[in-house]
Amino acid sequence: MKKLMIIFSTVLLIAGCVMMTGCVGESPTSNAPADTQAQTNTNEISTATTTEPQYKDKFIMGYGKDPKLKGGKWGIGFFPKTQVLEKLVEYDMKNDEYVPSLAESWEFKDGGKTIVFHLKKGIKFSDGTEFDANAVKFTIDRLIVRNHGLAPEGADVIDKYTVAIHFEKPGFFNLAKMAEFHFGMMAPTSVSPVGDPNGTLITPIGTGPFKVVDYKKDQYSTYEPNMYWYNERGIKPKFKEFVLKVIPDEDTRIMALRSGEVDGITDFVHGGSEYTPRNQLNVLEKEGFKVYKRDIPITRVIAFSYNKEPFNDPELRKAVSLAINRDDIAKVFDNQVRPAWNGMFAPEAPGMAKAGIKYEYNPEKAREILKNKGKEGLKVNIIVDKGQGDQILVAQLLQQQLKNAGFDPQLEILESGAYKEKRNSGNYDMRLYYIGGTDRRFYLRMFWRFYPDSKWKAYESEKVYELYKNILENPKDIDKNNREKDLIAFYKALYDETGVVPLYHDVMTVVTSPKVDAKQDELFEQAEPQFYCVGVRK
């Protein structure tokens, strides 16, 4: 017995020693791909004076998705689309205008069926090759050969810095497409053979602030500053290397930030998933972490199966809307999101403030409607996508609110494929859905959500369709003022018909360690965070 105890203790001791030897050595903070941090190189912007902050050479960001830098069949991920590539135009939602980016100006021809872009001169891709009309044509042709859903009909090079892009239908929407994620301009040298739209992607080369240096699928990707981009703007990067580490689990991302292994964590730059839990933001801020937040025009909604009973009746849809206390829904997210009281689209959406819409919370009125229709205790089912954890919480709260208003709601939490099948077949009463995205997707989502032939539409009616068509396809709505009038009418029609019930508007967040320097207006000069401006103080 004594012998056995000694053996057992020895084994435990050895096991403990083995574990501890694993702990000796480099600190967990040096967790980068090369497992070294270049601590000794002087930062570019450091000067002989003591006033300029000194920054570390490496910035490490935790992110929930693989950036897909090898592309493959479906192209690269959203992170490189926003940090490596740039578009011809960008969208200024505040003024409802498209502003120059790689194109300095453009003209609509034939009601918008063709747009002629005049490109900025002297712009270089990160590999030193010139950005010109051929690069634009290459990018467009690559979308076409891949049969991308948004691909134009074609592009023609007019001269070195002028390119005409042709679309199937006229209208303002064609310009909106050019600000889309998928229209990031890529260098022809990104593929092999060079310039072949069908070529194999070697590495995405763009004009944006980041240049791809290294990539290990599902683990990390490494970027360097694209000095052409920085020099063009007369600014200096605060890092020599930006490492994006893939951490799928949201709790692990937060732990990694707390342990110091990453300098920051960011939401999935597309919005809508893989984000820092909203109810952790206040906690992190109290602990001293910096929380950068930006409202984005994604609205989570209740969508109906409006072609069948019971919700082919707009009065019953209105009853659902009256039953919902949107403030309580925002509390699920620790009030980090905005309750959607003032319209289906976010308040900053063009024309939304002028529309003057106000949703009401009145469960008694909802009961009254059900009673008048003889539908007290109306049994309805709500389908929720299991992959969206937060939406399950929202659905559970909705279930309670609808019960209080006299409905008998049943929740069905479904696997993604099953959810989409039910959605497509209309075999449900209500579902949780979303409209919008980051700013650049405002008009695009309108197209996807209200186009009658779209399987992903949220609602359709004759009036809504006519208004939507005007906005996106009528050449007269290329004019901003006409477009605003039609947008206001569109919002009001959706409200009057209770096409969907808006719940809340989401946000985009970046959380960093207290040592990180970044300005809110630089980080969020667009809806997707731009990391060119970040740096970790030594």
């Binding site: 084994v11 694993g22 702990c23 903070t29 897909k68 099948e421």
Partner: protein, 311 residues
Amino acid sequence: MIKYISKRIIHIIPVLIGVSFISFSLLYVFPGDTAELIVMINTGTEPSPEMVEKFRAESGLDKPLHIQYINWLSKAIRGDFGTSWSSGEPVMNEIMETLPASAKLFFSTFAISVGFAFLLGILSTLYKDKIIDHACRIWSLLGISIPNFWLGLVLIWIFAVHFHLLPAFGYGSMEHLILPVLTWSMSFMAIKTRFIRTTLLEIMNEDYITTAKAKGLSEKAVVLKHVLRNAMIPIITYLALGMSHLIIGSVIVETVFAWPGLGSFLVKSVFTRDFPVVQALIFLSAVLIIGVNLVVDILYALIDPRIRYSD
């Protein structure tokens, strides 16, 4: 012995064919239009009907199921599982890239959990109903009850956030391996400890053990020389079943620790309806289990000569 092994090998063939057909056809009962879902998930846009139909034709999804199966099988037996619908890379390349991480995690966990399971199982048997036995049983109950994701996060909090001793996530050095292995081996070890203890205790009641004790052998000699050897057959069988985890892995551990293993790769492929990858992983997992069982059958014959003579 050769006849015995040959017989075992012949029995495998119909099993492999059955497994290949099941793994091939299983995903076609999933709800949803596969082509449409794949295109939408991987482009991030709602695809046009033309895009969906083009994809359907390119990937052979428009052919009858039995034609798809024959085409698939003829390539699979040569190790060609086609290309991933998500990445466009050959499936085997993707698997081989991910396999080292999975193997590292699995074999480390297996070695530690089996080693400790034997130790605790034997101690528990030797000191049945004593404090050591109770402690081992409580330990194994905890191991079974505590969810992996919770344990993983707690260990991260203690060792990475609080004490800064180990990394919270990632793959690379020995340091990165410690917490995922600790997390996963808890449940692995717990289940095996209980099984080993139960098996040993059953054999302790056999007549020949009573005889051995009556002959004056010590408790330790009885357990280590007689009980253990006779318990090896069921124990080896049980341990062999665990080999399937090499391919399936522990999705939870891999997700919590951002470990780029085959488990999370498989789950991601299921959600994105990347059929070539899912088919390959299920098929390879089945092949591995069948292969391991063949090895176990051969080991049976070595451990217990009665089996080879009676077969």
